[in-house]
Point group: C2
Chain length 294, copies 2
């Protein structure tokens, strides 16, 4: 039982991602009368919604991605799937899984299904080497370490601005590199730079951000992406070439953790994601049936 | 080139089976402008058509199996998939695959996708040991070997009656074991027995059919099933526990032969079959792209 939150529901399946794979997994779980919670930031898979004509999902020839998604979502709702608009930051195994969101909410799951979509994030040079050594992904979590220090934030999404402002309230020099178009609204203290960092520099720890013509010395770097790299979610999750390693039952290398959809690799197709989501749910149910009660 | 048939079309994909997996594979092939031919006996997957309410295919909550199948079929037709109502008997690898049907039609395919559905056939005792030694599955093919001999036919479907009558026209004593209900219309010379054979007996060759109380000596046995056991289709196809062995790309152990849907194992769900069909087609396309022109 989690001490911070008191008594709280334990879900049969906590599903990360609200795309076709996540929705299919959740509704298949509900058909078997398992409780299913979907956690997803924004609850809108942009790639599907932008598709003008979907021709390869059997049964709907030429439907818009938006209409198809609407039908998927409604179908899942009708089956009693529950949704929370939350970005998952970490998943800790245990008797049950403890799923921690960016907003520091905690959800407990007997099984976990990862349906996080395609890995679109290109890593910055130096990122992988320096993670945990001055490079982080959640300023609200680690920011307090940088009181009165110099920090850079690389933001793929306007959501990063909130984190930038939090850092501005405690740090010394804050550099912000927005990688999106449009207005940037941050504390006037922040040095906003419309440049793309070339690399994060440092040996033992972060030392500087490399720009094409110069280096900016910093004590820490935060990278705020639209999608959290999935390897950060659960320690030890196996991947190959950017895709989560799964077997034919959609099992990952971590017991009772399954994956489905684009995050398991090509082909990046709705029907493939749906099929994998259904299969992942079946396998999760099998795992539930064989799990001691917690 | 096949001498018997003269010049004939070679299909990019020959797909065996017209269920959700076969249709999904075919339409995905067509999207990539590959020619796709579906071969299936009757073209009606009975398990899907009989489902009163399908709840686990995202986008259609509670649709009847018949309506969903109709939509799948129309979708495939709209994409230019071609269909032939043919029962596939054998597939021979080569530069291209030679696909032979019960009606002795020959189709050539650059790739093959097996979407034959669930393996419902229970084998008879002795069947596996005696196949090719007096036990066969196609009387029209092997029947002439039994001129003036005694032959038994085990028929799961009324389609078998035609084969029984053919054997009656050339053989001596013909025993027919219809395993279906309803009228049996065969040549009056045929000894129709409403019993289920217990086993096929013989050491080197078929010797007799075993009934609960006695044995009927025969020179040959034909078993006519609704679904041909898939291991007979292609020599050397790997299976495990009745399911075709596939990897995550839906590749079987035979190059350029893929499998999708229920024939690859559980879960037996429409969406899983669809996803695998789509994936199999992508993999077949990859195979086509890397294959020397034949």
């Amino acid at each position: 039982m989690n001490e911070q939150t008191g008594v709280q529901q334990t879900w049969d399946m906590v599903i990360v991602g609200a795309g076709p794979a996540g929705l299919a997994a959740a509704l298949n779980g509900r058909i078997r009368e398992k409780s299913a919670l979907i956690l997803a930031a924004g609850l809108t898979p942009p790639r599907l919604q932008k598709a003008p004509h979907v021709k390869n999902y059997p049964g709907f020839n030429g439907i818009t991605g938006e209409d198809l998604y609407e039908r998927f979502y409604r179908h899942a709702q009708e089956m009693g799937v529950e949704f929370r608009d939350e970005r998952v930051e970490n998943i800790y195994p245990g008797v049950n899984f403890t799923v921690v969101t960016r907003g520091n909410q905690i959800y407990l799951g007997r099984t976990v299904i990862l349906a996080t979509g395609i890995q679109q994030a290109r890593q910055l040079e130096g990122e992988q080497e320096l993670v945990g050594r001055g490079l982080g992904y959640c300023a609200t979590c680690d920011g307090p370490l940088y009181r009165d220090k110099d920090v850079a934030v690389v933001g793929e999404t306007p959501e990063a601005e909130e984190e930038v402002n939090f850092l501005a309230s405690i740090g010394r020099n804050i550099y912000y590199f927005p990688l999106y178009k449009g207005m940037v609204k941050v504390d006037r203290k922040v040095d906003v730079r419309r440049e793309r960092p070339q690399a994060i520099l440092g040996d033992d720890r972060v030392r500087a951000v490399a720009l094409p013509d110069r280096e900016i010395p910093v004590d820490g770097v935060f990278i705020i992406r639209t999608v959290a790299p999935v390897e950060r979610l659960i320690t030890g999750l196996h991947q190959e070439q950017g895709a989560i390693t799964v077997d034919r039952t959609m099992a990952t290398n971590i017991p009772c953790v399954f994956a489905a959809g684009d995050c398991t690799g090509k082909p990046y197709q709705i029907g493939k994601a749906v099929g994998e989501g259904l299969t992942a749910a079946q396998s999760a149910i099998h795992c539930l049936d064989n799990k001691p009660d917690a």
